[in-house]
Structure formats: structure tokens, C-alpha cells
């Protein structure tokens, strides 16, 4: 029997606010344990939560960017369970009335373009962090750090529309790109700012009834998501083929073995007894607020890519690379404003600039060659002051010194030689020194032309205008 996997993703997006969702404690990562806490996030009796307005704004942003409907009224609910990282004995989340519903994202791949439904996006608080064994004094116990408790999260729940691990990764990458573009999440998967639970089931091909699903928890890289889902699909198929049954359970992915394993003893915990949190009043979002947020949205990657292809007439590949991150696109656009020739500019940004960043390990925002300088350099090429080849030397120099290209060209004597007489003189010398090759060329062996171009360029230290060299060389060789 052939099987069809069915996958839905629940993604937790940690929001880039300064403070927690219901109190004024800092959300900075890496502080000493329990130093960023107060009665609200410690869950002390009598402390009352007050909603951070920025969290709502970020949720509206995410909703609009994923084509959701923004609920006019939404309500916070308590999700009740006991765990040592949850000080109140409940997590404040949203249940029946989430802030965003019924959205979608389009993913591209070998399957063409496919629309993946987004069931809902809701706001909630994160739990604290448990440590085991890393702290010597803990002995046989576990340590609880509540710095992360009450950190604002969005949970983005997809429809079970994904049919392979690759589709799941494509969806995840797209969502990741969007929340980072929106400036609402730093996207750091290792630190847990963007984490994913995957619901995976399989059913016979042609069936319309989904199989029993297993939920794989907290997979913290795109590679692991692919691995975990592929492993889980195979595990379930093997199980069914051997006459077994998939049980609904939570499983944990182990990156070392590449396998998922069952987390036992949590069955009972799934009875969450949600009810509206009486401490938090309903949230009512006016159409004006939604419109205000909509006007503040940046151009999103899909539209940007389309615009680069249609308006700037860039190839699909270039558009994809240049819009991969918002910062790179902003750099490119800052250059474009000063040097409005998209394709040559794209080549430089994807070539020299990207190479320089990779070699030095710098982010584009720290690029030593500013858009202003890069534009000046390209203008020097267009003006014929330097050749494209020399421009690369100048670029490296700019990277090191941050100097303006015109000054580097002047200081190093790199101005392109476009003086016909000067170039002819060099050609004469080269021809005189290579009589044999001249005869070969005249005897019909036109391949040696390249040899002459190389020699002339070298004799001019790369400064001769290549177009002129070609033209004059041909004339002289043909005699």
C-alpha cells in the first residue's frame, strides 16, 4: 500500500518587544537566572496582568502579512496544567476567540505554487526554563529560571495542508522570512525565538480520512524539521505495515540519533480546561487600528520579488537572492536609488558584496562598502574611468579602507588608459616581441587573438580600455 503523509505545523514566534506580555520586566536573552522577574511573571497571589499594546500591534502585523482576518473582538483564556516551569498553574493564551483567523501562505517548489491555510494566530505567554544537571549545586533536582516566563509569543497554526517534509520546510521558511521582515521576531531558532511543533499522520493514498497523528515537539532548525518529519512518516508507515496502530501522542525529536521518541505520561495533561481569564478584559480592535498597522507594513518578500522581476527586469534567481533578507534588499535598494541600473548592480551585490560578507563573517548592515561608495564605483566603470576588472581591485581597497573609489583610483594610478596612441604603442611592443604568434594569426589561427589581448592587458597593468584594445589589436594584426 502507498501512503500519503499529512502535516500541520504549530509555530511559536517570540516577539521582539522590550518587555514581557503582561508586565514591565525585560525580555533580554541571557540574563542571570530569575533576575528579570516581578510578582506578575512569578505568579504571586494578587498580582494582575496588564496587556502590552505592542504585542497586539505585532499580532495584527503578522495577521495582515499572512492574509488573516483580524478579529474585532478577542479574548484571553487560561490553559490549565501543572508543570514546574509554569508558576501560575495556567498559561494565559487565547482559545475560542483568537486575534487572527483564516489566513494563508503560498509556497513554491517542485510542486509549483501551493496555498497553505493558516487556521489561526493567537497571542500567549511563554513558560519559564528548566535546567537539569548543568548546575552543579542542583544535585538530583531540577532548576527553574522564570526570566522567560511571560515572554510574548504568537502561535501560528497551519491547516493540515502540507503533504511532505519539503513542503513543511518551505512553509516554515516562508513564515520565518515574513516575521523577520516584519521586524516582530529576530528569527533566531537556536535561542528558541522561532520554534516549531509538527503534527504528522499518514493515510493510504486516495483516502480522505486522516490517520492518527503524533505531535513532534520543539524542533529547532529547518534541517531538523525535515529530518524529524521524514523519520516520523517512515516510522508510522512501518508501524501500520507491520499491523500496528499509530497512537496519538507527543514525541520528542533527538537530533543526535535523528529519531523521534515518545514522551510518556502526558496524556492526562491534555485536559486543559480552558476558560476566559477574568483578569484580562476583552480586546477590541477597531478598523482604524488595523488600517494604521497596515499602512506601516514593509513591502513583503513575495511582492518585492515580483516587483524586482517585473519592474526591475531582474531574473527570478536574482530577485530571490536579493530579497532573501530585508536588510540585503534594503542595501540593494539604497544602491539602486543612486545607480538605477538594476542588473549590473545586482551582479555586484550578489557577487563582490556577498563574497566580502561571507569571507569576513559580517552582516550586510555592517558592510564596509556603503551603498553610496558602491554606486560611485559603478559610475566610474560606466564613465570609462576604470575597467570592470580594475573595479574589483578598487572594491577590495574600499572594503579595507572605506575610502571613496575616485580617491583610490587617483592615488593608485588606476585610471583606465583610453588613449589610442598609448594603446597602439603597447600593441606594437607586444607584436614585436611575439612575431611567431603574429604569423600564426595571419596564417588563420585566430585563437591566438586571446593571447594578444592578455599580453596587452598585462603590459598595461590591466588599465587599458578592453574594448579599445580589442578594436585596435584586430586592426593591427590583420595588418
Amino acid at each position: 500500500m502507498k501512503f500519503q503523509p499529512v502535516i500541520g505545523l504549530e509555530v511559536h514566534v517570540q516577539l521582539l518587544t522590550n518587555t514581557k506580555i503582561f508586565c514591565g520586566c525585560s525580555t533580554k536573552f541571557g540574563a542571570s537566572p530569575n533576575s528579570q522577574t516581578c510578582p506578575v511573571c512569578l505568579g504571586l497571589p494578587g498580582a494582575l496582568p496588564v496587556l502590552n499594546r505592542k504585542v497586539v500591534e505585532f499580532a495584527i502585523r503578522a495577521g495582515l502579512a499572512t492574509n488573516c482576518t483580524i478579529a474585532e473582538k478577542s479574548v484571553f483564556a487560561r490553559k490549565n496544567y501543572f508543570y514546574p516551569d509554569l508558576p501560575k498553574g495556567y498559561q494565559i493564551s487565547q482559545y475560542e476567540l483568537p486575534i487572527c483567523t483564516a489566513g494563508h501562505l503560498d509556497i513554491e517548489g517542485e510542486w509549483g505554487t501551493k496555498r497553505i491555510g493558516i487556521t489561526r494566530i493567537h497571542m500567549e505567554e511563554d513558560a519559564g526554563k528548566l535546567v537539569h544537571g548543568d548546575v552543579p549545586g542542583l544535585g538530583s533536582g531540577s532548576g527553574v529560571d522564570l526570566n522567560r516566563a511571560c515572554t510574548p509569543l504568537l502561535e501560528v497554526v497551519s491547516e493540515p495542508d502540507l503533504r511532505s517534509a519539503d513542503e513543511a520546510v518551505a512553509y516554515l521558511r516562508k513564515l520565518h522570512q515574513i516575521v523577520v521582515y516584519l521586524g516582530i521576531c529576530d528569527g533566531n531558532m537556536e535561542e528558541g525565538s522561532f520554534r516549531c511543533d509538527a503534527n504528522v499522520s499518514v493515510m493510504p493514498v486516495g483516502s480522505t480520512t486522516f490517520g492518527t497523528r503524533a505531535e513532534i515537539k520543539n524542533v529547532n532548525s529547518f534541517r531538523f524539521v525535515k529530518q524529524a518529519i521524514e523519520y516520523e512518516i517512515e516510522r508510522q508507515i512501518d508501524l501500520i505495515e507491520e499491523g500496528g496502530k499509530v497512537v496519538q501522542e507527543t514525541r520528542l525529536f533527538d537530533p543526535n540519533s535523528g529519531m523521534t521518541r515518545s514522551m510518556r505520561g502526558k496524556e492526562e495533561a491534555h485536559d486543559y480546561r480552558y476558560f476566559p481569564d477574568p483578569d484580562l478584559v476583552p480586546l477590541v480592535i477597531s478598523p482604524d487600528w488595523v488600517e494604521e498597522v497596515e499602512l506601516s507594513l514593509p513591502e513583503l518578500p513575495d511582492l518585492k520579488r515580483k516587483r524586482y522581476q517585473e519592474e526591475l527586469e531582474l531574473p527570478a534567481y536574482d530577485a530571490e537572492v536579493l530579497t532573501a533578507s530585508r536588510e540585503l534588499a534594503e542595501y540593494f535598494e539604497a544602491c539602486l536609488a543612486l545607480y538605477p541600473q538594476a542588473k549590473p548592480l545586482a551582479n555586484w551585490v550578489m557577487g563582490e558584496v556577498t563574497r566580502g560578507l561571507n569571507d569576513s563573517g559580517l552582516a550586510i548592515t555592517a558592510c564596509p562598502v556603503t551603498p553610496q561608495r558602491l554606486a560611485e564605483l559603478l559610475k566610474l566603470i560606466d564613465a570609462g574611468t576604470i575597467s570592470g576588472k580594475i573595479a574589483k581591485t578598487v572594491f577590495d581597497e574600499m572594503w579595507q579602507t572605506g575610502q571613496e573609489p575616485a580617491k583610490i583610483v587617483a592615488d593608485k594610478g588606476l585610471v583606465q588608459v583610453s588613449d589610442t596612441g598609448e594603446i597602439e604603442r603597447i600593441i606594437d611592443e607586444v607584436m614585436a616581441a611575439n612575431q611567431g604568434q603574429v604569423e600564426e594569426f595571419r596564417g588563420g589561427k585566430e585563437k591566438v587573438f586571446g593571447f594578444f589581448v592578455g599580453q596587452v592587458m598585462r603590459a598595461s597593468k590591466g588599465k587599458a580600455n578592453p574594448a579599445l584594445v580589442n578594436e585596435l589589436l584586430l586592426k593591427k594584426l590583420k595588418g
Binding site: G24, C25, P33, N52, L138, G141, D145, D271, V281, P282
Partner: protein, 95 residues
């Protein structure tokens, strides 16, 4: 009956309460009486009425995203029965 003894035991387990057999029996009777009393509300016709999540007519209480001083690790830990190096210490939990 509005509630069974098995349900009472389930709810007790969710709340991490250990009930003796007699207690379970007593609470089943008491909870059943409470539920029967509350059930009177179902006699009202609520067709077309939006469910009420909050009793006070207030909406949108916000704070600005501005940092306020935390209370500090020592204060946070003041009532902790057990602590090590700034952590609350609890019996070992393994996922």
C-alpha cells in the same frame, strides 16, 4: 446524576489532589448537588444572546512597551523553599 465518581477522581488528579475513597464519595455527592443547582440557569432561554466572558463592561486595558525594574533575584526567591545559584530548585523533572 450530574457527575460520576470517575469524573471527580479525574478532576482531582488534574488538580494534583489525593482523595481517599470516602472523600471521593462525599465530594461526588456535593459536586452533584452544586451542579444541579447551577443547572437551574439552563432553564433561561438564552437564544440569540452572545456568551458573556466578562462581567464588567470594560475593554482594552493596555500598558506601553516600557521596561520597569524587576524585583531582583533575592526578592523573587524570598519565599522559595529550596534554591541553588539563583534557580528555584524542584524535584527532578525529565521530559
Amino acid at each position: 446524576m450530574k457527575i460520576t465518581r470517575a469524573e471527580v477522581e479525574h478532576v482531582a488528579r488534574l488538580a494534583r489532589l489525593e482523595l481517599s475513597a470516602e472523600e471521593a464519595e462525599i465530594f461526588t455527592g456535593q459536586m452533584d448537588a452544586i451542579l444541579a443547582y447551577v443547572d437551574k440557569l439552563n432553564e433561561l432561554d438564552t437564544t440569540g444572546i452572545t456568551p458573556t466572558s466578562h462581567a464588567v463592561p470594560v475593554e482594552n486595558a493596555f500598558r506601553a512597551d516600557e521596561e520597569r525594574p524587576s524585583i531582583g533575584t533575592d526578592n523573587a526567591m524570598a519565599n522559595a523553599p529550596d534554591r541553588v545559584d539563583g534557580f528555584f530548585r524542584v524535584p527532578k523533572v525529565i521530559e
